[in-house]
């Protein structure tokens, strides 16, 4: 691959020396074998009868007609670089979400860039090394590459769909706006005519023209805007989620962490009352499964059961006041409010 980044004179074919003055629609083609450019006439002339050698002096590559295409870039060395990048990108197609830390991702990016750089501008040895590395990577990461390719395609597809949807929505909105403006114009015209008619007609028959449907139209416009906003959901691709060690399992809790400790009082040990003390050892009450402290606990609970509930709050405001009283309260509040604003 002899690298001679021929400065592409856009006006003369380096092979047949035709100039653009003589042939207005001259088109230059290149072959990715050696990136030597020549006009389409030369390509037809030289390669129509099968493969032939590149006409450039010192370039002994055999080229085929099929391989010729027009270059995207003006600078052919960039064209070649991009071709190589295309090949590399097909293999090294991992995305940011395949890595756990940004640093790993950046190192990966640099590795790829180094390899590409060697392929593009390294000497013979480096190039061969890089080529080998590329092939090795392709062999060892086959499944991953395939998966990423699919994911990438999907993302592209989604992005494209979103773009077209947005464009369509914008077009729709533009049309709506135009229609709205036209309608308004017509309405204005009509109202003017109506006014004139009114003036002609006997007085007392003024007709108020209302703009109907205005709000509903705006609403629908808003709705369509909303709808387009969530057409293709935004796919945000950041770093991969880090693998976390699972949290150690605690003891089983049948209530799922609910707290039964009373908040307003504290149950002391051995609460008692002389009246009930006798039952503590009474076999009738100490049957199996019954804890005597349960009794005191329940008594305490019942004693505090109503606390923190204020009936005043539950009552509706103004109950018991007459209607006129309510009105005067309202006026008073309004007056005070006014004053505060003015101050």
């Amino acid at each position: 691959m002899s690298r001679s980044p021929m400065v592409c004179t856009d006006d003369m074919c380096p092979v047949c020396k035709t100039i653009r003055y003589l042939n207005k629609d001259m088109e230059f083609l290149i072959n990715p074998e050696c990136y030597h450019s020549m006009c389409s006439n030369c390509v037809n002339r030289l390669f129509n009868d099968g493969p032939n050698q590149c006409p450039y002096a010192g370039c002994h590559r055999t080229l085929r007609r099929k391989g010729f295409r027009s270059a995207f870039f003006g600078d052919l060395s960039v064209e070649r670089e991009v071709d190589i990048r295309r090949r590399v990108a097909a293999v090294f197609n991992q995305a940011e979400d395949d890595f756990e830390t940004l640093r790993d991702y950046n190192n990966y990016l640099q590795m790829v860039e180094d390899l590409t750089f060697d392929l593009v501008s390294g000497n013979e040895g480096k190039r061969r090394n890089a080529e080998a590395q590329l092939q090795q990577w392709e062999a060892s990461h086959k499944a991953e590459i395939e998966r990423n390719r699919k994911a990438g395609r999907e993302a592209d597809e989604q992005a494209r769909r979103r773009l077209t949807a947005e464009k369509e929505a914008a077009r729709q909105r533009r049309l709506d706006a135009i229609r709205e403006a036209e309608e308004e114009k017509r309405e204005r015209l009509m109202s003017r005519e109506a006014e004139l008619d009114n003036m002609a007609a006997p007085e007392g028959q003024r007709v108020q023209l209302k703009r109907r449907g205005q709000t509903s139209r705006v609403e629908t416009a808003m709705n369509t805007a909303m709808a387009t906003a969530d057409v293709g959901k935004l796919s945000i691709r950041g770093l991969k989620e880090k693998k976390k060690a699972p949290a150690p399992e605690g003891p089983y809790d049948p209530f799922g962490g609910m707290d039964f400790v009373p908040s307003r009082y504290k149950l002391g040990e051995g609460l008692s009352h002389p009246q009930i003390e006798k039952y503590r050892y009474d076999p009738g009450h100490t049957t199996g499964g019954y804890d005597f402290d349960e009794y005191t606990a329940r008594v305490m609970f019942e004693a505090f059961a109503g606390m923190g509930v204020f009936i005043e709050d539950e009552k509706e405001v103004g109950i018991g006041l007459s209607a006129s009283q309510v009105a005067s309260i309202g006026a008073g509040i309004a007056a005070v409010g006014d004053k505060m604003e003015l101050d």
């Binding site: 990966y108 990016l109 860039e113 180094d114 309260i329 008073g332 006014d338």
Partner: protein
């Protein structure tokens, strides 16, 4: 003059004050107290600047917070004017208070205006001065010097290092001129003195760009504290400034030069790899670690800073594929080549940044993220390479700026590629516009960062448009009218010629002979009756040229020539200033002159035609923008979709603010007088969009005149206004002495009391219920408590 507003003592440097100035101060103080933003419109020529300054300085000095004032204006001459006003004010204060206050006020402008270096200051272009200055003052240059190498340095800059860093210049107010003189005396650089002293100033006066353009703001205005008071004066064009600060244009030529820059960069890298590998390695290590040298980006000698607003900066390590210098250069080259290819297309393309990035990725494998870091990476590389001839890399910097912006912003921006300059052009001259459509983006950080932002101008109507477009809320929004003892200006709308044919510059009729002739006769009539100077505004250069040549054919210019000299504004600044000079001379000599200018040109924005320099302003046609511009179309669509501002509303708002700006040119004070003629059929409907002070003076009878009626009205007006009018007749009405002011304040206080009393009276109707309710609550509580006590006992 000395007076109090509430508890704030204000020192006003003139013996008399205008009523609107007092009202302006009151509203300003309200805003500052409340801590919010405001939009204020005050007629031109009523001393806006001095009012603003005297109130804010009084506010600063009286309250213990000493909030700093950042005063932004548009042009260099306005900055200088404000500085002079401030100086006068401080002199007055010192006189009154009997002592010099601890106060420092400085103005900042570009290096070009403040440079003292003998060879650098001779450069013509601002960017060359910037680049050369950097190459003399960069940090590494000094290091080299210290190592004993032979490098050029700037003695003015280096002298600053010998001074105390917080006291480079004594207290006081320094005009730009004064600063230059002081710098020359002490052999110290005025530019860097101002830059470095900014933190220690009470008042800073500089151009909008230092606050709005992220490329500069990040470096210059970063350290200003949150409680600063920010004032944008002459802010009627602020939305355009915001938009320009985030837009870039790329041409084929700049791409070619960028390629050359990239090649140079590559050569430099190779050189350095052979000679000083370690430096490159150091940079690389730093990038791997994601370290940013402490405040690297905002060093004053930095090559360029990030064009992106601080909120949108990605704070992480530079992506791996542009970490190495050679990788980055190849990356840049690929990007430039791609742009070159795109430029070859021969049809207009407008696309969103997103679709541009997709296409870019498809063809060059450039991802969005490294593109986003382009500006930052280039800065770092330039610093590492210690490049001195920075001006060669300017185009490369433009490309990097573009790259970073396009990769950062998706919404509110658009790429437009125009292959031909005009629709009829044959030779392609492609330009890639990257335009910002949303003015709110650039100004958002300012509103978020500073608690009080004041937006003010002589013509900023309709007021509610600005908060809408710029996305902020106001505390006070006020337009003041002009109090006048006599009607000193006469606004008129002329809709018909003397032959009753309607006149308009709308596209269909603008070249019709009858319209042109009617405009011509309007001009000749007014040239005949107007004393001294007269200014005429046209909607565009193109139309001005065509109508002048038609007038020449009709012999109208000869007719005008009998009464006045005719001078024309051109796009060339030098020619225009010469024309203005001649115009002034002709007015002074009594020959009289007509200045023909364009409503969006230089003359309409910055030049005052006070007193005899302008007695009539004639606005021919509504100065609409060129609506076929693709950038404008895109912006209109954006405004409609985002802020629900309709195309026509915006266009007419924009046209009217320029028309008002033109009208304001002739009236520059209360003793001034002038006639304002709006000559277009369409002005009749747009009357409401004029500033309040003009609109109030415009009588209903004067809104639909024909040429002859307008002329007779003007003649009558001139006859009356030319009578001698002593200043004493204005006193108490349009000019207040201290006694008048005191009377007004008393009246206001009295009114306030009356109002309060009225409220109280209103409240008295239902006081019992209001007061009883809480009482009864308390009583219940007391009862409860007593019961508890009893229980306890």
């Amino acid at each position: 003059m000395e007076f109090n507003i509430d508890d704030l003592p204000v020192l006003f440097p003139y013996p008399r004050i205008y009523p609107e100035q007092y009202a302006y101060m009151c509203d300003l103080k309200k805003t500052l107290d409340a801590g919010g933003h405001c939009v204020l419109e005050m007629p031109s020529g009523t001393g806006k600047t001095v009012t603003l300054l005297s109130l804010i300085v009084a506010y600063q000095q009286h309250y213990p917070e000493h909030r700093k004032l950042i005063y932004c204006s548009r042009t260099m001459s306005e900055i200088e004017k404000a500085l002079v006003e401030l100086k006068e004010l401080m002199k007055f204060r010192a006189q009154r208070l009997g002592r010099e206050e601890e106060f420092r006020g400085l103005g900042l402008t570009s290096r070009k205006n403040l440079c003292l270096h003998p060879s650098v200051k001779r450069e013509k272009s601002g960017s060359v001065v910037d680049a050369r200055c950097r190459s003399l003052t960069a940090g590494f240059v000094k290091e080299k010097k210290e190592k004993g190498e032979d490098v050029d340095v700037c003695i003015y800059h280096d002298n600053l290092d010998l001074l105390e860093p917080h006291n480079l210049i004594p207290n006081g107010v320094w005009t730009l001129d004064g600063l230059l003189r002081y710098g020359e005396q002490r052999k110290q650089c005025p530019y860097f003195t101002a830059r470095r002293m900014m933190q220690f100033c009470n008042v800073i006066i500089y151009s909008y760009h230092y606050l709005l353009d992220p490329k500069i703001a990040e470096r210059v205005s970063k350290d200003l504290s949150k409680d600063c008071i920010v004032v944008f004066d002459e802010a009627h064009n602020i939305d355009n400034v915001c938009i320009e600060s985030l837009s870039t244009d790329i041409t084929e030529d700049s791409l070619r030069r960028a390629t050359r820059g990239a090649q140079n960069l590559e050569a430099k890298i190779n050189d350095m790899r052979d000679s000083d590998e370690k430096k490159l390695q150091d940079e690389y290590e730093k990038l791997v670690e994601g370290l940013r040298g402490a405040d690297e980006g905002r060093q004053e000698d930095a090559f360029m800073s990030n064009p992106v607003l601080p909120d949108d900066l990605l704070k992480e390590a530079v992506p791996g594929n542009i970490r190495r210098a050679e990788h980055f250069v190849s990356f840049l080259r690929r990007f430039i080549e791609y742009l070159k290819t795109r430029m070859k297309v021969r049809q207009v393309i407008s696309e969103t940044p997103e679709s541009f990035l997709t296409h870019l990725k498809e063809y060059t494998f450039i991802e969005k993220k490294p593109l986003r870091f382009c500006a930052e990476r280039l800065t770092s590389l330039v610093r590492t390479l210690e490049l001195t001839n920075i001006e060669d890399y300017q185009p490369l910097q433009e490309v990097a700026t573009f790259a970073t912006l396009v990769a950062t912003y998706e919404k509110g921006f658009l790429l437009i590629l125009e292959p031909y300059e005009s629709d009829t052009a044959e030779v392609p001259n492609p330009v890639l516009h990257f335009t910002c459509l949303d003015a709110a983006i650039a100004i958002k950080p300012v509103f978020e960062r500073f608690s009080s932002v004041v937006i003010t101008s002589g013509t900023i109507s309709p007021l509610e448009m600005y908060p809408k477009m710029l996305g902020f809320n106001t505390v006070v929004q006020e337009s003041y009218s002009m109090t006048l003892a006599r009607k000193s200006f006469l606004p008129m709308i002329v809709t018909r010629g003397s032959d009753q044919a309607s006149i308009s510059t709308s596209f269909q009729v603008r070249n019709e002979p009858s319209v042109v002739r009617n405009y011509g006769s309007l001009l000749t009539e007014f040239a005949r009756i107007t004393p001294d100077g007269m200014v005429v505004f046209f909607p565009s250069y193109l139309y001005m040229e065509s109508i002048i040549s038609m007038w020449q054919g009709m012999g109208i210019l000869d007719e005008v020539w009998k009464h006045k000299l005719i001078l024309v504004e051109t796009p060339d600044a030098q020619e225009t200033s010469l024309a203005l000079e001649t115009y002034r001379t002709a007015c002074c000599k009594g020959r009289g002159a007509v200045m023909l200018c364009v409503a969006r040109g230089k003359v309409s924005e910055g030049i005052d035609f006070d007193h005899h320099y302008g007695r009539t302003v004639l606005c021919i046609g509504v100065p609409f923008q060129y609506t076929e511009s693709r950038i404008l179309k895109a912006r209109l669509e954006f405004l409609r979709e985002t802020y629900r501002i309709r195309e026509n509303d915006f266009l007419s708002f924009d046209a009217m603010r320029h028309a008002a700006q033109c009208l304001g040119r002739v009236l520059r004070g209360k003793d001034d007088y002038g006639i304002m003629v709006l000559a277009d059929r369409r002005f009749q409907k747009k009357r409401a969009q004029l500033p309040k002070w003009i609109n109030q003076a415009l009588l209903d009878a004067d809104t639909n005149l024909s040429t002859d009626m307008a002329v007779s009205a003007a003649r009558r007006f001139l006859k009356v206004i030319a009578q001698p009018f002593p200043t004493s007749a204005q006193e108490g009405v349009s000019i207040w002495t201290k006694a008048d002011l005191a009377a007004h304040q008393e009246k206001m206080a009295h009114e306030l009391i009356l109002e309060l009393q009225a409220q109280q009276a209103a409240a008295q109707n239902a006081p019992r219920v209001v007061e009883e309710r809480p009482d009864s609550d308390y009583e219940m509580d007391d009862d409860d408590e007593a019961a508890m006590m009893e229980l306890g006992a």
